[in-house]
Symmetry: C3
Amino acid sequence: MPISFANRDLINIEDFTNQEIEAVFSLADEMAGSLREQSDVCRGMIMASLFFESSTRTRLSFEAAMNRLGGRVISVVEMGNTSLAKGESIADMARVVGSYADIIVIRHPWEGAAKVVADYADVPVINAGDGGHEHPTQTLCDLYTLKKERQTLEGLKIALWGDLKYGRTVHSLAYALARFGATIHFRPGPGLELPEHVVRKLTTEYAGRLEKYDGVEDVDEKGLFPLDAVYVTPSGPHQLANIPAVGIQIELERGVDALYVTRLQKERLDTGAEGQEVDKSYRVVDKRLLGEKGFEDTIVMHPLPRVDELAYEIDADPRSMYFKQAERGVPIRMALLALLLGAREVDIPEKRGQPFEQERGYPVYRSDTGLRCQNGTCVTSQQTETRYIRPEFQMVSREPLTLRCAYCEHEIHPKYIASSKWHQGIAENKRYYYADSFMLGRIHPENLIIFDSEDDALARGFKLGKRLVHG
Amino acid sequence: MPISFANRDLINIEDFTNQEIEAVFSLADEMAGSLREQSDVCRGMIMASLFFESSTRTRLSFEAAMNRLGGRVISVVEMGNTSLAKGESIADMARVVGSYADIIVIRHPWEGAAKVVADYADVPVINAGDGGHEHPTQTLCDLYTLKKERQTLEGLKIALWGDLKYGRTVHSLAYALARFGATIHFRPGPGLELPEHVVRKLTTEYAGRLEKYDGVEDVDEKGLFPLDAVYVTPSGPHQLANIPAVGIQIELERGVDALYVTRLQKERLDTGAEGQEVDKSYRVVDKRLLGEKGFEDTIVMHPLPRVDELAYEIDADPRSMYFKQAERGVPIRMALLALLLGAREVDIPEKRGQPFEQERGYPVYRSDTGLRCQNGTCVTSQQTETRYIRPEFQMVSREPLTLRCAYCEHEIHPKYIASSKWHQGIAENKRYYYADSFMLGRIHPENLIIFDSEDDALARGFKLGKRLVHG
Amino acid sequence: MPISFANRDLINIEDFTNQEIEAVFSLADEMAGSLREQSDVCRGMIMASLFFESSTRTRLSFEAAMNRLGGRVISVVEMGNTSLAKGESIADMARVVGSYADIIVIRHPWEGAAKVVADYADVPVINAGDGGHEHPTQTLCDLYTLKKERQTLEGLKIALWGDLKYGRTVHSLAYALARFGATIHFRPGPGLELPEHVVRKLTTEYAGRLEKYDGVEDVDEKGLFPLDAVYVTPSGPHQLANIPAVGIQIELERGVDALYVTRLQKERLDTGAEGQEVDKSYRVVDKRLLGEKGFEDTIVMHPLPRVDELAYEIDADPRSMYFKQAERGVPIRMALLALLLGAREVDIPEKRGQPFEQERGYPVYRSDTGLRCQNGTCVTSQQTETRYIRPEFQMVSREPLTLRCAYCEHEIHPKYIASSKWHQGIAENKRYYYADSFMLGRIHPENLIIFDSEDDALARGFKLGKRLVHG
């Protein structure tokens, strides 16, 4: 039965289920075969392409897609936030542009900005990259290439290679791969390991299991694939068949399906000696590497632009997929635009077994008590946006108390708590406690008040509760 | 009978009669109901969108409109005049782009630039803002929202609120409202009063009458609408029915149709203490204000972008019209483009009564005698343009001698006059006089020569006429 | 019989034969008559418009052309190479954009960049200007205007006027005119003479003959056309009919077909006294000049933008063709796009007689030996491009040894040579020689090795050959 995606947004890759992702791919397959014959699909419709950060490739890919569909494009390309000079908020821009266009594609340096656009515009919104947060259509393109080259997305073995610390595309891809039950091997450049919060999300929300391999220098010497760590997902009993109970050597002899290489983001490194050291030791993927045992059937992927990490000599190798990845971005984005605009519908394939994902449903905390995201590039931290955005968090852990910003997904660990129930009538009873006090367990989530500073608590008439601190 | 607008320009709002404005609105109404079904109206036609100053909103609105009509868009977006670096004139650019496109939309920081484009391009030209001079399509959008919300444009009561000094949209709107017989109330921010020349134009060319209310601090205390002045138009006997002979209190008890709020243009203020004072005392339109007596049926308008002058809390209020104003810009611009391109025609409604406007027909003065506009941002003052533009003025007053620049409408008061008749044959007779001499009355307009300096007069062989100075 | 241009590139004007140029013109003629009726010709196709240098006029002309054809446009407008900041190569950009679009139009400040795009993109590529190298569509527009106004391109008499040193359009035009057997008169501004290599190419590759006129000051005094030189082509016996054996006076009394004026590129001049002198003596084409004897039927052409070299007073003169030249750029580019996209085919007229051009077929030299182009703005000199571009040269002369860069056409004179045959087996035999040694004649071209420095030769195990130096 055809399902409509009309009026939905794509802000995080998690906005689509595995089945929906596969449905996008089947429409992309259909369109890829007849790119020039789609020019009536979105006739009369307008896409607003709002790029407040340099990203020529992504912008052109979206604009080519909309044009292939016969739709029209209106564009804003602004580096350095010139439009923000007048002090206009993202919400106002979203409302206005949403009244001009039928769909909005937004790239913005502030993390969470795409969510704000989606919250305020009356039309579907696609996140084309919001700071270091998410870039879900890049992940769709990556998955699509895996699907085309491996015929399935389930149970793949993928090595993520290079800058695993700053590359947002790698984080999104890791989550998405985990959802499809992949075994993921991490091979970071020196000092470019996967951040803790990404590891935690993979192990807690996607039920993965982490295995560390320490003796890797030794492996490197032998010319083998020098993994620092291997991440294996999922760990649930029904998926055990997917987890090869093998050591790294055996794994590599069997080979991986894909090597996903990322650019060293030099602009983020120190310019001093340390940065140059990282640069130097960032291993290049070249003919020699691809000639090693275990890589015979391994495809090489890269989100582009590359700098030096992929040698030009392998461009003609049939395993090199990076230009095909870029090329396939057009039919993927065509399918996505046609679906969200309601111009096409697709059949959702029936669920096959369980998704490799936990049910979450974290409690939501909306702050009126001074609690703010600490991420300086979060959209909620910006002067123009604080006028109307009410901070919102998911409580992802109680011990230690951990709130995840609903906009940028950065986490904070607030210091103080209180209950909105305890002071009814009697001001004397208004007490606040340290967040690691046992009192946290006694407060019903819907009554919970959280403070980030003593001043915030005092300003609202609370006093520190005696003897209940540091429980 | 359908009338064609083909090949006309829209540079000043005065280029269209009241009836023509209403005709644009009736076509906009028709198109607004079927935005996506207009895609054959301008098929095969091209709009050049030339933005030499930041104005994302206006540009996107025009581009969306042309795309909705099935036309095509070619764009120039240049801040900082990079194209002018090569020294090319606006006239040359207009001629060339006019040979590529079927219509030109121009935004330029120089006042009068749009008129130059219209003078030299072979296609219709729309002024999308020329410096501080005019922005006629913004005025059309404002009037259209008034028409949609109040069902008529005639005899409305409108309060103009905020920065009445620097906001060009407010000046254009005031003239347009006056033409439709509105009663206009001015409520400027401190130090942001309407400029004298705007007041003069309203009272002389639109036959308005000005009433001052001095005791307004007192009114403010009572929480009422703190008007500094009330402008009542028109004053002609046949329109007296439109002029409520009431004091301010009564006026406010009856309410105004619309509150038109403008952004405080902070970039124009001193950054010192005075500027901060203005900023601070710029009253915000919020829930409390809208809750006051007399505002029950008052719509709130704003040309956007806003900064702090409209509180976000009133966005959901049904009286808040600013996002609808922006949205309605698309059908208005669609109608305008279709008409000027000759792709559609409309019926002009029959004249109902007299227009609220004086016949003017000022004498025109074209200068070969060194007389120049004194406005530094006037297009006639720019080095690249003086090569070919011959200054031109309307003589709007003889006492004192006042010339209005035909490009930017700024006024000058030249010092000296002479006659081209008096010196025939006898060089001794070539005399010039002070402009306030009674000799001005004796010179036939077509023989009048005007000098801005003694040097200009002497260079042309004139000597100061004795005893006829300072008549 | 209709011929397809599908999938061909236009990088240099020499990529098209005279017959092909005429074929483009006949299609342009057809389209010019019905500009708005071509909107199905390229339906469903996408042009990528990549402008990495300011060129509003050329970009708008291409974009208008593609839109007139019903195709779609995706654009990059980047001054200051912001996209290059990430270190991406032109080859990678070409491959990616070539997978989004059906044709690429590229403007780039690096000479030879368009060739690189053509080498790597899978779609047709049009050079819209690569630094100071070529701008072939401007030349097509110039020739088209000559054809329209003079009914033929063969045997015309053209005066090139002004900045003949820096103006790339003038160089390309001179070569193209030569191919059609034109007589070209050069009238440079002071210090702005045609560069030696252009003169050499005209006399060697196009079989032209150069005549110098020294007594020109005298001519100038009489108000005649003050030619510094007259270039007459072709000199082959079968074309003698085209060469009027006349002196300059007679030539001018007969008149020239066109005066092609160029802008003084002030940004290239010294800002000091010398530059101001050039500026001052750069003679303006004005009414007085056009009123002189011999100019009655001379059309005035200019690639625009003009600064002061064409007086505005001649704009209305029927001989002034510069705005028509710009206007005709649209049908020319429409024809070109339709042909390269394979959307239209044209009949190639039969060859009439010989082309006015020499067979060339210079030997090609590809360098692995450190030999590089010395032009700092050549694409092969750029850090991002050296990773994958292998320098390539045409050997245009053996005495002195002269290699022309295959990318930017700048010439180098390398110092040392060797043979790849002489050292087989015996390392002692690896000798290198000065390039002006008689040994050059003994080395078969396919064995030739060329070095630019002693270090390069020594690094490859060669020693300087004794006694064979400076032969």
